[in-house]
Structures are given as C-alpha cells and as structure tokens.
C-alpha cells in the first residue's frame, strides 16, 4: 500500500483495521542473486538501491535478530557532511543529498530535520582549524558558515560563554545538517526494498561463508544454507567476525560508544551542538529528551555497554558547556559497537574473495552515511567495481599508504 493523506483518512474512518505489515516476514529461498548480511540501515539501504538503481530484486537481507536492532537503533541520529578531507566531504555530501530526498524516494516519513549542526570553537587556533574545514567544505560545494561569538550567543544564549578555561569564541555552522529518525530510516528502507521484491529474513544468523576456489558460493545460516554468487557484508561492529569466516584479518578494532537521553522537557535547543573543548554533542528529540554523547570508552569490546569513567567525562563536558543540564535527569543510557578503523574512515570495497563485498569500518559516524553507504555499496556489488564516491574507501589503502586520516592520529583506533 502506498502511503498518502488519502490512505490515512480512509484508514482512520475504518478504525485502522486494514493496515498491512510494512514488509513481509520472508522465508529463506535456496538461492539468491545477492545476499546482504546485516539488516541494519546500511544493509537495507543497499538492498533498496540494488533493486531500484540496478534492477536486482532477487536479493535477501539476512539479519541475526530483528532489523534495526543493532547500531541503527543505538546512535544519536545526527546527519551532517562537515568533513575536512575531500573523499569524506564528497561521500557524506552525497549522503546529505539523499537524505534531502529520502522521504519522497521511500514514501515514508523518516523525519529528516535540517536544524543545523553547530561546532563550537574556543581558541584562535581552533577558529583557524574550523575556518579551514569550512573552506574545504565550501570548495566542495557544501554549505558552511563561520559564526563569531555574538552570532552564536544570539542563537544559544544559555551556554557558558565566560568559562574561565574554555570561553566560547564562535562556531562553524552547517545549516543543512540536523537529525533524522533512526528507526524510521530502517523501516522505510525495509518497506521500500520489500515492495521491490527483496526478501527480509530476520532471526537468521550467518554462521559461515561458503567459499569455493576463492569465490563466494553462499552462506551458512541458523536457518540453513543459502546459495548466492554475490554476498555483501554490512555488519559494522562485527565486521572482524564475519571477515574471519573468510580467513581475512581486518584493519579494525571493535569499540563501544555510549549515548544518553534525559527526561523530556519543553523545546530547549533547536540545533545539534558540539563542544569544541571536550568531546560532547547534544540535540533534542521530538519527544523532548535531550540526546547526548561524547568519546568512546577506548578499549576493545563487544559488550554493547560501557564504563562509568566515560559517563562522568561526557557529563562533565556537557555541564561545562551548558550548566543548566545539571538540573536534568538521565532517563536512559546505552552502548553501541563501533568498527574503529586504523584511519577513522570507512571501507566499502571488494575483498580478496571473488563475489564477497565489504561495507564496514563506520567508526562512530555510520548513521549519517546510511543512504550513501547503501547507494555506493549497491553500485559496487552490482557493477563489481566501486563508484567514484567510494573509490577511496578501499580495504588495501592502509598497506598502500593511502589512508584517509581526518583527525591525523595514525593507526590508533581509539583516538579517531
């Protein structure tokens, strides 16, 4: 059923009795043209674009739990393209453009809200670095504005401007950045892919890869073996485990990042705000809760939960920036797993196994990438070679010396 104002009125008059499930509960077939491992935002977006852009609809998305139950449901929903390095700017800007048209493409309300992303700076040196980043963005056709102290104070009067150690000097603003509703993105892509014939198979965990003579032949799952000539892996957080099934070692460590939401309050902040002197970012959900986070914990883990010293550090940053936050209670707090790569940049590429494609290494920034990640991964799988937008996100860039290190930290994943 195509959603429209008319269908809404019709269903309201009938007591909402005729709504159909948004996607089928598909059973696995013996063989597909393409199998996507991982039913998160990236996997489902890949399936959608495989069907829509490349005419491949004999596709299955395999998800070990229920769709969107991993990192797609654990992020802080921010979308932006305010990067410094050209490959990142161009890729994330394409993602931003897809976000801007996503609701009409999917016929689904994913609640894209371009409320602006504000990065505060607190020193002359940081202003220069942000001006450089803003200029890099503008050279790539992306919107960026450098605001001075008076301009940012008019926007956000409640911050601590006279903090003795970290006074606020101004901000870099991307007005087109903002937030989207993370669950709706998953459901919207799932519904759109399903409508084009993609099988979404939940509670189906991949336990092995079938490889013959260096070529992928299918996957082993908890619901039996499934054949496919092409398999795409989109399981960020667990990429190393899937890659190990193909005998591959990855330039990735699994880390955890924590996120928080407060009790709901009246509209308090109408943008996404980041602290430049510590690592802290915050926005307000449509339900009123303040959603915030900061640094990763910094050690390898698959636990999907973090430790208290990081909680303390993040909240100290938040209260230093916005003292009024101290009056609020945190309602929920959770952790999500990160594929931290050695240069802080993702991987969308072929692998040394023919027909096996890899999408991972999203570090702490996978949500905003969802549309472009799926779009580029679908292109790579369908054509057998990367699109220009993901040509730099190669698996072999590390050994080749072509790292894309946005933060300049080197091969120390917990510092990116």
């Amino acid at each position: 059923m195509k959603y429209s104002a008319l269908s809404l009125v019709y269903e309201a008059l009938r007591g909402n009795a005729d709504w159909k499930p948004a996607w089928r509960d598909a059973q696995p077939k013996a063989e597909y043209d393409v199998i996507i491992v991982g039913g998160g935002g990236h996997g489902l977006a890949t399936a959608h674009y495989l069907a829509k852009e490349h005419g491949l609809s004999n596709v299955a998305v395999l998800e070990k739990g229920w769709i969107g139950s991993g990192n797609a449901g654990r992020n802080t929903t921010i979308i932006r393209s305010n990067y410094l390095l050209t490959p990142n700017i161009q890729f994330y800007e394409w993602s931003m453009k897809l976000w801007e048209g996503l609701e009409s493409d999917l016929n689904y309300n994913v609640m894209v809200s371009q409320r602006g992303v504000v990065n505060l700076y607190h020193s002359d040196a940081q202003r220069d670095a942000f001006a450089r980043r803003g200029n890099a963005m503008r050279l790539n056709g992306v919107d960026a504005e450098l605001l001075d102290r008076a301009q940012i104070r008019a926007m956000l009067p409640f911050l601590d401007y006279d903090n003795a150690r970290f006074p606020i000097h101004g901000a870099l603003l991307q007005r087109r950045g903002g937030t989207a509703r993370h669950d709706a993105v998953v459901w919207g892509y799932a519904r759109a892919a399903d409508r084009r014939g993609v099988d979404i198979i939940q509670n189906c965990e991949v336990t092995g890869l079938v490889i013959r003579n260096g070529r992928i032949a299918g996957v082993e799952t908890t619901r039996g073996n499934i054949r496919a000539a092409k398999v795409g892996v989109a399981v960020a957080g667990n990429t190393s485990r899937l890659a190990a099934m193909a005998g591959l070692r990855m330039p990735i460590e699994a880390h955890v990042i924590q996120a928080f939401v407060t009790e709901g309050v009246k509209p308090a902040i109408d943008c996404v705000l980041t602290f430049g002197a510590g690592h802290f970012y915050i926005s307000q959900s449509d339900k009123g809760g303040l959603v915030f986070g900061g640094d990763l914990d910094g050690y390898n883990t698959y636990a999907q939960r973090g430790n208290l010293p990081t909680v303390e550090d993040i909240i100290e940053g938040g209260v230093a920036l916005w003292p009024g936050l101290g009056r609020l209670r945190v309602l929920r707090h959770w952790g999500g797993l990160l594929d931290m790569t050695m240069d802080g940049t993702p991987i969308i590429d072929r692998t040394p196994i023919d027909g096996l494609y890899l999408n991972g290494g999203w570090c702490y920034g996978g949500f905003k990438a969802t549309p472009a990640s799926g779009w580029c991964f679908a292109h790579s799988i369908a054509r057998g070679e990367p699109h220009a937008l993901n040509a730099a996100f190669r698996l072999d860039r590390f050994a080749a010396g072509r790292v894309i290190d946005e933060k300049g930290q080197g091969a120390q994943p917990n510092l990116h």
Partner: protein, 98 residues
C-alpha cells in the same frame, strides 16, 4: 571495570591508558618481506570476541606497562602481569582473585 595493578592494587580503569592487543610483535626490518609484515603489524588486528591479552599503562599510578588478559564480551579480567616480565619471560601470569 577495575584493574588489579600488581604494584598499586585494584584501581578504576580511568587511571589507565589503553594501547591495544599485546600479541603482535615487531617484524624484522631487514627481513625479505618486511614491507608486508610491517603493514600487517601496524594495520591488521585479530580483534577477538572473547579473551584478549592487551597492553594498559598505569598513567595515574605507578607508570607500569601491564599485560592484562580481559574478556571483550564480559569485561572480566583474569590475569595481570608487568609487561617487562612478559618481555623477559620472567614470571608466569598471576591470576586475579575471583
């Protein structure tokens, strides 16, 4: 998460700095395949789901480098040793009291 430092005793993990997997060893720079070995040493990780031997530095304590055996699923720490003892092959791992 708390780490039992062999010198300082049990401390919160905020006192320590993490340096990652302790198992990779520096390749021979004069070896024939040194380029490939170094690329693997610097960039590739086993990234195990389960027990891992890893390096922690007690920055806010005795400044010792430690080799900690920790489970990456449960965060349970089973062994802690001074890294210098591991390097010298001196003492067997001391099990953390459970």
């Amino acid at each position: 998460m708390r780490i039992v430092c062999p010198y300082c005793g049990e401390r919160g993990n905020e006192e320590f700095t993490y340096q990652g997997d302790a198992s990779p060893t520096r390749p021979d720079p004069a070896g024939a395949d040194a380029m490939q070995k170094f690329a693997e040493y610097v960039y590739l990780r086993d990234n195990p789901r389960g027990p891992q031997r890893e390096l922690w530095y007690h920055a806010a304590g005795c400044h010792s480098w430690l080799v900690v055996t920790r489970n990456t699923i449960s965060h349970e720490i089973t062994h802690v040793q001074f890294a210098r003892d591991v390097a010298n092959g001196a003492t067997p791992a001391t099990e953390v009291g459970r």
